[in-house]
Amino acid sequence: MKQPLFRRAETATLAALLTVSQLAPAQTFAPVNPSPASTETPAAPTAATAAGAVTPAPTAAPVAAELPATAATAPVSAAAPAPAAAAPAVPAPAAPAPVLAAPAAPPPVAAAPVAPPDSTRRAARRARARKPPPEKPLYPLYSLLTLHAVANSVWNNDVAYDSFNSKDVGGRFGVQLDADLVHLTPAIALAAELGYTYEATDNTELPPGLGEVGRLEAHHPHVAALVRWSLVDWLAVHARAQVGLSFTELQIERAGVSSGDEALTAKACSPFFALGAGLSVWTPAHRISARRQYFNSLAYGARIEAGYLFSSAVALEFPDRDANPPERQIAVRGADLGAVNRSGALLGLSAFVRF
């Protein structure tokens, strides 16, 4: 069975992790600068010696260090079986003993490893053919990207927000694209996200005299990091950290006021940060291509998320204006009207397609 690219990468990563972790005892087994005690006292039996290595301890270290990776890992795998998840990732130990036995020769062995005989290679090939298939990740297989259509609701209980929305909840709609970066385990994946939401509200019930309509319009591009844990093959929970910028414009239309100012406007670019957690459900994956390594399946789903959005406030004021004859003879100083707090509880719902 052919593995997709990301799956191979995951396998290689896991293999590398296992190799590093299992080589560590060998280093203690053969210290680079042995203490006087260790030079006088034979090393304690290790996994390598237990596996049948006949080389004395003082010479075993450089030999093991110079061995090819396959040769070095083979006896370790044989001596201390790796976890089940790691087993398929490591070539089967077809003939571990001869490989380690070969360097039983004096020191020059390290410079010229001995190739295994053909029978050994055939045995190894057979062993590889018999190995169990790689474990399927719980998320729809063969998918890297997720495209969301997002509807977020931010609960804004700030009084100032009331001038721009007759309800405390404002909707933000947009799209976002998730890309799986790595599967930490078959069930846990780390993904990056790029998204954009748009928000527009208005309210005509302004404080009497302030104006006729209050409008709020904002664009929110963002990036996010997401950790997803698939519980079963149709359900996952996730946690998400999101940072972005809000390009907000507040406007109060004041047509017809005697002071002649048509509108009060404030534009602000402010950062925001959000933390959230939620769950996703999806349909079984539909295979759309048997030949491609990835983007060959399609799944649909929905996600709900709750969290909190932290964002700086946007101030609105009557602007200060310098004298500018003949249009304006006298400089104007305007009062601050207040600031609209943009933080609030977040409830997000998205429909997504994963491919």
């Binding site: 509807a151 609701s153 609960w155 209980n157 009084v159 100032a160 009331d162 001038s163 929305n165 007759s166 309800k167 405390d168 909840v169 909707g171 309210n203 019930e205 302004l206 404080p207 009497p208 005299g209 302030l210 093959d233 149709w234 359900l235 006021v257 005697s258 002071s259 002649g260 459900v281 999806w282 349909t283 079984p284 789903g301 929905a302 709900i304 609105l316 004021e317 009557f318 004298a323 304006r328 003879q329 006298i330 400089a331 104007v332 100083r333 305007g334 009062a335 601050d336 009207l337 207040g338 600031a339 609209v340 409830l347 719902l349």
Partner: protein
């Protein structure tokens, strides 16, 4: 192939999620509470501040317009009641405001300064009218005639209830509540006498005018019973004016529907009265209905000058002698002044007699007028017609013309200097400190001024239409209030109004922080 129940689950979840989101969006949304609109009074100037009273939010808004760097910031003062009748406390830098508790019949009289509520007097009744003495030390809260007829919020209502407030004191003892005796009518006007010697003691009286009766109250002893005097049987007359002669301890009264001048002489009372003075009524007949009167002190003693339309009458109350002086031009108002005349350098009492709408005025030299009569009379033409009369410094009088201009009348030189105006002048503010008259017109952005010394006119155009005009003598500032719901004023240097670089417009101070409220 997944089991069928597994394939159903996502669908069920989606429905559930949709329901949750809908619940959050619609059921959980908090509705916005409506804002309370500002219901603002006309602004009042207090030395370096402008004050507005906000009836809907039961507060006063104070704007500092005289600072070196004025800011669009108002200080809010909680009045703890809905402000009603409000007026400047005479001879004091404070406001007097009757505030009502909207949840009960309680009411207070609040003395308000620019820094906060100075004193609060509990009145217990929601009066709608306030009258204060010239020195601002006494105030009487009572019901107006209109209030007495329309007051229907309470089940029981006493239109003759009043509250006497000694503004020089604090606490409950400063307020005396009482009900005036009446012959079936409600109070119409309240007047305060100057301080006068009565029964060996300097004291002040309050005179409450009903339709045809008066009540005399001794403010030194507000707990003592009042004198109630009926001047005419029946309801054929309506008392309209009251004047005092402190020298002679007399009170003069005029009434609509009567040609008589009513004179009350205040005499020491007999030993069996709780009050130590008592009034004695005298009635002086005149040929025509008197419309205005003043008391003056001449070399021969105290006299009463009465304007009766086509004639002036000088009344000597002690002898009931009346001297009639025919007028060549109609007059129903009198302005008393002391000064010289073009023919006499002596500083004597003189009178200007005039009527609104007339184009001429009469000067009457009061000294020896009873003997010289019309020889002491001089008529002067005033172009444009008289709209009102505003006394200025140095015996100058400002006369806004009915035709829209201004006339500066010099009472000593007896000259009338017309100042033409393109538009009808709506707000005219004389300022002794700046030596200028400031004027503006309805719907105009132009702020005009006249140097009183040389009558040189000047003008500066502001950016917004001027609604009200204030001249702050102490701060040497001119403040133009523009009509804008958010609050809009322009502040100019009164000494150099044409230098607009020194001017500032403040905008939006009524809505300061409104988004956060």
């Amino acid at each position: 192939m997944a089991p069928s129940f597994v394939r159903c689950l996502p669908r069920l979840h989606l429905k559930g999620l949709g329901a949750c989101l809908s619940l959050a969006l619609f059921a959980g949304c908090g509705d916005v509470e409506p804002h309370t609109p500002l219901v603002l009074s006309e602004p009042v100037a207090l030395d370096e501040h402008l004050v507005w009273l906000d009836a809907s939010n039961q507060r006063a808004l104070v704007l500092d317009v005289a600072g070196a760097d004025p800011q669009p910031h108002v200080t809010s003062i909680d009045l703890k009641g809905v402000p009603g009748t409000t007026q400047r406390q005479l001879a004091h830098n404070a406001l007097l405001s009757l505030t009502a508790n909207p949840d009960s019949d309680d009411a207070d009289l609040v003395v308000l300064t620019s820094s906060g509520v100075k004193t609060r007097y509990a009145l217990g009744t929601q009066f709608d009218t306030l009258t204060q003495s010239a020195d601002g030390n006494f105030a009487i809260a009572h019901f107006s005639e209109a209030g007495a007829s329309t007051k229907n919020a309470s089940l029981l209502f006493n239109p003759n209830e009043i509250a006497i407030v000694d503004l020089t004191r604090t606490g409950n003892s400063a307020v005396t509540k009482r009900t005036l005796r009446s012959f079936g009518t409600a109070p119409r006007l309240v007047a305060f006498s100057p301080k006068m010697q009565l029964a060996g003691e300097e004291r002040q009286l309050a005179v409450v005018l009903f339709g045809s009766q008066i009540a005399l109250l001794d403010l030194n002893y507000p707990d003592r019973p009042e004198y109630t005097i009926e001047l005419s049987r029946g309801a054929s007359i309506t008392l309209s004016q009251v004047r005092f002669s402190a020298e002679d301890q007399k009170i003069y009264l005029l009434a609509n529907g009567s040609n008589d001048v009513y004179v009350l002489r205040l005499l020491p009372a007999g030993g069996n009265r709780e009050n130590d003075f008592e009034p004695s009524l005298n009635q002086l007949g005149a040929d025509a209905a008197p419309q205005d009167m003043v008391v003056f002190e001449g070399s021969l003693g105290s006299r009463l000058l009465v304007a009766s339309g086509t004639r002036a009458e000088i009344v000597e109350a002690s002898s009931s002698r009346v001297t009639q002086i025919p007028l060549s031009t109609r007059a129903d108002r009198i302005l008393l002044f002391h000064g010289t005349s073009p023919f006499d350098d002596a500083d004597e009492p003189r009178a200007l007699l005039f009527a609104v709408g007339q184009s001429s005025v009469s000067f009457l030299d009061l000294e020896e007028a009873e003997e010289r009569t019309t020889r002491n009379l001089e008529t002067l033409a005033v172009p444009g017609g008289i709209q009102q009369l505003i006394p200025l410094n140095d015996n100058l009088v400002l006369i806004p013309q009915t035709s829209g201009g201004l006339t500066i009348l010099n009472l000593e030189e007896r000259t009338a200097s017309p100042i033409q105006a393109r538009l009808g002048l709506a707000a005219i503010q004389p300022s002794l400190a700046t030596g200028r008259l400031w004027a503006t017109s309805t719907g105009s952005k132009a702020l005009g001024y006249i140097d009183v010394d040389n009558l040189h006119p000047g003008e500066v155009r502001l950016d917004y239409e001027i609604q009200r005009l204030f001249v702050l003598d102490k701060a040497k500032r001119v403040v133009a209030v523009h009509s804008a719901p958010e609050g809009l004023v322009s502040i100019l240097n009164a000494n150099d109004p044409e230098d607009l670089e020194q001017a500032t417009t403040l905008q939006g101070f009524f809505f300061e922080g409104i988004l956060d409220r």
